[in-house]
Amino acid sequence: MQLPYHLVITLTGLDKLLFVTGAKIVILESKTGKITTISESLGTAPTVIPTDQHAKKQLRTIVYHPAKKLLAFVSDDKELQIWDAQTLKVINKRTILKRATCLSFSKDAKYLMVADKFGDLYKLVVDNPEEKPLLLIGHVSILTDMCFTSDSKYLVTSDRDEKIRVNRYPETYDIHRFLLGHTVFVSKILALENSKEILISGGGDDWLGVWNYTTGKLLQKLDIVTGVELGESKPTVVALKAHQPSNTLAVLLEKMNYIILFDLTDLQHIKQKKIVKLEREPLSFAFDSAGNIWIANNSTERKVDFLAKDKLEVVDSQLLKQVNNVRTDEVEEMFELYEIGHMRKWSRWQPDPNFSLRQKRQAALDHDIEKEESKKKTRRGGQKQKEKKAKIAAETQSTQ
């Protein structure tokens, strides 16, 4: 089974698009159509790889710094690499402590922020692999996404507990504000560039939040479910990106064959622009510099779709053929491509769907507490368990 591309980003300023497939990176030069495949660990030729081995090496998160042309990514076996995107040379390579969930460069590209599954956010010095990482922020939950505001005064973080935190930067020990209002996990946050303090967030709710991150006010809720055939499932935002020159915001929902577009012309009243129905399940997308949209699909026969900016329709192009014709690695069995939907807390124990928000919250809290309790019981259960065992032993003896 051929691997799909599961991530796509634009290398702004280099006229290149970058696609991630498993542990490999495929770069498409948009002027010449030239394809370059890069892999440190697996070699560049297509191979067949046992699933478990491949899953370990898979690149889960990648980030690009347009001004300094730097690229950073982390594989699931916790190896972090920073590359010069022009020369494709490794600048920094190190093993990190926990599995990373998201990355972000500081504006001056001196530091790379790495957030992990344990809710911690570390600061690494980009050009010094020896220097020890320092801890900047800690959430009591999986840290799902982060972004700097365009003035770099704040570093915003989001987590699985419905929370968005606006941290002062570089004094991240000082929380400026919490943006509260989401009712389930937050998976993606995006601070708009040079706009009046606006941040957009999405997660497991059926709306996107438009916030003023300085005042903490929720300005607008953007509907992302009307016109989308969700069926039994709940919406899960897996990708949220904006192309500000063309005032477009786009969203992908997990396992939903749509891309939802919003018009950012009037930030006080963001309106839906169009819902484009897709033929395949999208995994990731990127705006190229011109504002066209490249969508990576969970499909091997057509790995990438292209949405022309003026029509906002799926069209064909020569470049697209180039990237779709790349033979990617094969695996015996497909590994998990969808991680975000699992964050929904009521996936394993279903509360009554008719519960009010308040009841749901209480149920979640009760669940939380009971879990905590049962853990504690097992933790200091030594003595009690011994007593219990002794009691049972005595009983069985007496019955015998």
Binding site: F118, Y122, R160, T172, F178
Partner: protein, 232 residues
């Protein structure tokens, strides 16, 4: 009283001993106890219910007093919640003037150190709900935990340790040491009690670089999914 907001929070209030002790000393302040445990040891009632009953009984005994009068016990209450996780959902920025962490879970295992109630990163959230000049009280009978809390609070730029003279003048200090059930138990067993009080500063130092990583020991390399579980 109706338009007042909670000003003191006792995190992990257990049997509510501190609430009862502080109530008559600060009749004009609202004091809230929070407990994550469903039950407190040696009692079949839910912890919240136990403290609730205790407060209701005191209120009934003092029904002749006005609500804002000392000893009416109308200014204390309790709720069951996970304070580590939901603190900012309950309190506004700068709402609290005192936070109490009395005899918290020591989490002895190295791997569980990160779950301790006071860590450099969690202190940011406590600092958020605490107003400048507000005070955090940490009391424990476990030396190792005391040193841990002091280390993390010392490291945090928004907190300053209060000197002994300041503690001597503070009417809360005798209460936090003596009025909780745990405190009394330690006294009966003539164990040690350690106290550390920190003031929330308005501004932290400039040029701050970051905290030292909180490591749970080397044994947790593959326990990545611990947190996922805890979150379910």
């Amino acid at each position: 009283m109706a338009d007042k907001k909670v000003e003191f929070a006792d995190i992990g209030c257990g049997y509510g001993g501190l609430l009862v002790a502080l109530s008559p000393i600060f009749p004009d302040k609202l004091i809230l106890g929070m407990e994550i445990r469903v039950k407190v040891e040696g009692n079949n009632l839910l912890s919240k219910e136990y403290v609730d009953k205790r407060i209701t009984a005191l209120r009934n005994q003092n029904a002749d007093k006005k609500p804002d009068e000392s000893g009416s016990y109308q200014n204390i209450s309790v709720m069951r919640m996970n304070a580590m996780r939901y603190c900012p959902n309950f309190f506004e920025k700068g709402q609290l003037s005192k936070i109490f962490f009395l005899f918290p879970d020591p989490h002895f295992k190295k791997r569980k150190h990160k779950a301790r109630i006071v860590t450099s990163t969690l202190l940011a959230e406590y600092a958020y709900v605490l107003r400048p000049g507000g005070i955090v009280y940490c009391v424990t009978d476990v030396r190792d935990l005391h040193e841990w809390m002091v280390k993390h609070l010392d490291e945090h730029p928004l907190f300053r340790r209060r000197a002994q003279e300041e503690l001597d003048r503070d009417p809360c200090v005798p209460c936090v040491l003596q009025e909780t059930e745990e405190g009394k138990k330690v006294e009966r067993n003539s164990g040690d009690k350690f106290i550390a009080c920190y003031e929330r500063l308005a501004e932290g130092e400039k040029g701050w670089k970051g905290f030292a990583p909180i490591l749970g020991g080397d044994d947790d390399g593959d326990k990545d999914d611990d947190k996922d579980e805890a979150n379910e």
